[in-house]
């Protein structure tokens, strides 16, 4: 980024020669507190992944046969939904910087819709599991599966609550193109939820 960029806020600058607002070089996206939370959450998920790896090396047969008993379509749909919702949130950020708060709120609404469809797909998947005799006590692979996916589901649930709060703040004029740290904080947290699923999906549904 050019050194002649006009600094509007600690997080955004005005691009030289245009009216485009861009993220500032070296900034902390959102605020420092959310990064303490994000890194803590990522560490929590890392512990789950470690548990998965250790359980897998001691029970290779169970962990190699487990994924083929799961509903790959549900896992794939949920991956596509979470990536889409992350994209929608990124578009909402761009719209806010481009001085289009109404469009930003619309993108955020689409992100919430994707999150809620994710939750519906997950409940349908759990019902499908029960119908196929898959429960938390079936074996160690499925215990790990429920441990990871239910924990992640909770994150999607309360994360979508944060997205709704973001929509309310946009609609009530709480953010503007120069000052939207709160929206960026919500966006960063939401992307973290997507990142966790990017690891969970192949571990549980793909690797055999």
């Amino acid at each position: 980024m050019s050194s002649s960029a006009v600094v509007l806020d600690s997080n955004v600058v005005l691009e030289p020669g245009s009216d485009r607002i861009l993220p500032a070089e070296g900034r902390i996206p959102g605020n420092p507190a959310i990064w303490a939370a994000i890194l803590s959450e990522m560490s929590e998920f890392a512990v789950m992944f470690l548990v998965y790896f250790i359980a897998k090396i001691h029970n290779p047969e169970i962990f190699n046969s487990g994924p083929e008993q799961l509903n790959t379509l549900a896992g794939t749909l949920n991956t596509l939904l979470l990536i889409s919702s992350s994209f929608f949130v990124a578009k909402a950020m761009a719209a806010m910087r481009n001085r289009r708060p109404d469009l930003s709120a619309q993108w955020m609404t689409m992100a919430v819709a994707a999150a809620w469809i994710y939750l519906l797909v997950k409940f349908w998947e759990y019902k499908w599991n029960v119908a196929h005799g898959i429960g938390i006590e079936t074996n160690l692979f499925f215990a790990t599966y429920y441990y990871m996916t239910f924990n992640h589901l909770l994150h999607v649930g309360w994360g979508s609550g944060a997205l709704i709060w973001g929509i309310y703040r946009i609609r009530s004029g709480g953010y503007n193109p120069e000052q939207h740290q709160g929206l960026e904080t919500i966006a960063s947290y939401w992307h973290m939820i997507d990142l966790a699923w990017i690891v969970i999906f192949p571990l549980l549904y793909v690797l055999r």
Partner: protein, 80 residues
């Protein structure tokens, strides 16, 4: 999106192998990096935050490969 659909296709059709595991690990690293760079906008963010997040998506894919390649050896030295 394409990487996700590709992973699902692999899961449903391909025979398990070390090559498949490496491809899956690479897809995790790639998708993680894309989300961090494009959506989270970490590419020009604070270097410590960027470094921590990037490290995560180097370590986890490497662990996926290590667990697949050295499963028996790891089981001898790591206990539940």
């Amino acid at each position: 999106m394409l990487v996700t659909v590709g992973s699902a296709t692999l899961a449903e059709s391909a025979e398990p192998s070390h090559l498949i595991t490496v491809i899956v690990a690479a897809s995790v690293a790639f998708k993680g990096r894309m989300v961090m760079d494009r959506f989270m906008e970490l590419r020009n963010a604070n270097k410590y935050i960027r470094g921590s997040m990037n490290l995560y998506f180097y370590v986890i894919p490497l662990m996926i490969i290590f667990v697949d390649l050295f499963s028996e050896q790891l089981a001898k030295v790591i206990h539940l």
